[in-house]
């Protein structure tokens, strides 16, 4: 198991957001984290990367306990974070947005051709400030940024949010291409997108992991989808 989350509980201020989340992400797969707005999906990712450290429970990355360590140390173990709303650095050029993610000198040089092949738009816009990109381009940049160092796991939060369907298709295609090289834990509201990509799923409801299984089975279970995710 590349990542195991064992019944973590996370508080933000005095609010008890995660009341027991457990999940496992096997190596070489795409695992989807589904659930309604406010169910705790984003907080789960932030707890894993260490931005909202869990108060109890364990997080194991490659067998190593990582909960409670500072976010920069966790990330440096090989976890890439593609946050909600992309968090592109507006004042940095596209190229700088990639270069800042280097953990070792030369990280970017080794990956740049692959990244530009995956997202040809970024090559054309290399010198443009990140703030001037469209939403879809920013999403591509956010994914590309997480690919610069040698990451083994990507935490991807709502990549389809606010994007036109055709752009979503592009993102889906690129994530699918990545999936044979890198493990992905994907948070997604867009069930259609998640169904296309993921091998396995977890449903988060009210701070708990409520359900899990194979994505193929979920797609056929309309009752379950309606119950936890609303209309699909």
């Amino acid at each position: 198991m590349l990542l195991s989350v064992e019944s973590i509980q996370t508080f933000i201020g005095q609010f008890h957001i995660l009341e027991g989340i457990s999940l496992e992400v096997p190596s070489g797969s795409i695992t989807a984290l589904l659930g309604r707005n406010g169910a705790g999906k984003t907080t789960t990712l932030r707890s894993i990367i260490g931005l909202n450290p869990p108060r109890t429970g364990r997080v194991l990355f490659d067998g190593q306990e990582i909960q409670g360590r500072p976010a920069y140390e966790i990330a440096a173990l090989g976890i890439g974070y593609v946050p909600e709303h992309r968090a592109i650095f507006r004042d940095l050029s596209v190229e700088e947005n990639l270069r800042i993610a280097e953990r070792r000198k030369g990280d970017l040089a080794g990956k740049i051709d692959f990244i530009y092949e995956l997202f040809p738009d970024l090559k054309r816009l290399a010198k443009h400030p990140g703030g001037k990109l469209s939403g879809g381009q920013q999403q591509m940049l956010a994914i590309a940024r997480a690919l610069v160092p040698d990451n083994r796991l990507l935490l991807v939060d709502e990549p389809s949010e606010g994007l036109a369907p055709i752009v979503v298709e592009q993102i889906v295609a690129s994530l699918r291409r990545l999936s044979d090289q890198i493990t992905v834990l994907l948070v997604e509201q867009n069930f259609h997108m998640a169904a296309q990509l993921a091998d396995r799923y977890y449903i988060v409801d009210d701070g708990h992991t409520a359900h899990s299984g194979k994505m193929a089975d979920l797609a056929g279970d309309q009752a379950l989808i309606t119950r936890y995710l609303g209309a699909a």
């Binding site: 990367i49 931005l51 360590r69 500072p70 976010a71 920069y72 990330a75 440096a76 974070y81 946050p83 968090a87 650095f89 507006r90 004042d91 940095l92 700088e96 270069r99 800042i100 993610a101 953990r103 940024r145 160092p149």
Partner: protein, 497 residues
Amino acid sequence: MTNFLKQNRPLIIGSLAAVAAMAWALSQYEPKVAASILLSGLTLGALYFLVTSGLSLIFGLMDVLNFAHGLLFMVGAYMGYTLYANPRILLNTLPLLLALAGGAILARRAAPMLPKIPGGQAARWGLWALAVALLLLGSWGFDLAPLASTGISAGGDVPTAEAQEALGLFVGRLLALAASGIAGGLALALGQPFAGRSRGPRGLVLGAGLLALALLIAPARTLGEGAILGLSSNLRFLIALVVGAGSGAALGGLIEWSLIRPLYSRPIYQVLVTLGLVLVGTELVKGVWGPTGYYMDTPDFFSQRGEACPSPNLVAWLGDHCASIDVLGRPFPSYRIFIIALGLIMFAAIAVLLRRSRLGMIIRAGVQDAEMVQALGINVRRVFTMVFALGAGLAALGGVAAAPFIGVNPGIGQEFQLQAFIAVVIGGMGSYGGAAAGALLVGLARAFGDQIVLSGIQLPFMAEAVKFSPSIARASTVLIMALVLLIRPTGLFGKKD
């Protein structure tokens, strides 16, 4: 282009109005008077910039309003002056501080390699108590007054031989402080079980190096004093700039690490802590150097007098180093030209650092979203400390540069703090270009204000010029700030959100 015009209309109108006002004001004076007002404004602007730039960087990156920035300016001025005129006090205190810091760093880095100290919390408090006891023992009866005395201040110079302690006693103090540092470092390491892991031997080497340096300086105190005072005043001044800026940076880093870092989630407390620091720091400075000020000589490079002076122009000055340079028929002190140049050089250097270096890239990214930078695997806290130290160093550099110009006294920090805050607000919080523009504007306003106080304003149809009280020069900057904020609530270059 039209878009740019539309979005920045207030900014454009504002700058046109400023230029028009300045042109009108300049037309009221003879060219030579106008030129010297402008140059005075630039001089002040350069000094304000050195304070403002750090203030703005620190606020932009960490949202900390550092009210102690003026204190760092003052510390720079005092440290620079001390090295320049009376290095004895430095040579007799620096080794003690080095021993304390060296011991602490050594112990903190070595702690993970030692067998575990039993006792947990109790052992920690015990170590802290031991550290404080050793600190008190080591500094017991240490008298700074004779070391700080110079012929001007304390009613007569105390000879070095009398002022400083015998070598044996001094080394004893060194050892006590080093031991105190070691105890404190161990206590720190016990409190943070994860810190100090996997850092390699760099910390150990640094700690041991500081200790060794302290022991090396101890027997060479008198020798060192003679050597420093024997240097030419130009070289001494250069060293003073470096030492002043360096000690400001070290103090700034220490303040961030010890006092600001625990308070990042509590901004009100940061304001209280930094304000408190100003009070404590000012009194400490008064305690060591006395409540009255000092006058620092201008180095020889800027103070030649004679037949040929004032130098007819900048190129000739490079040859004769006159105390003043002729500007359109009026002498202008050449040292102030140096301050302007220093301001310009630092402006360019920081701009290059921000634009071209990896640290600069991280700072620019962190200003927007420090959390995301952290999630990329970058230790943002360490970058915070570095930027705090950098900003503090810039302010302290300004303090040293200001010392021969306005003198050294316990009040200069607060004066510059206030004006620098006004400049930052005018320029826009967190914008580097804005900090420079604000500093320039405040400097020019002060210079014009001073001139208006001197000569008054001659209005048409009035027999006598309208006179103003000297406070108008200070008030003018606040007026500009109010005006800017009315037109543009985020300051001239502030980001819209």
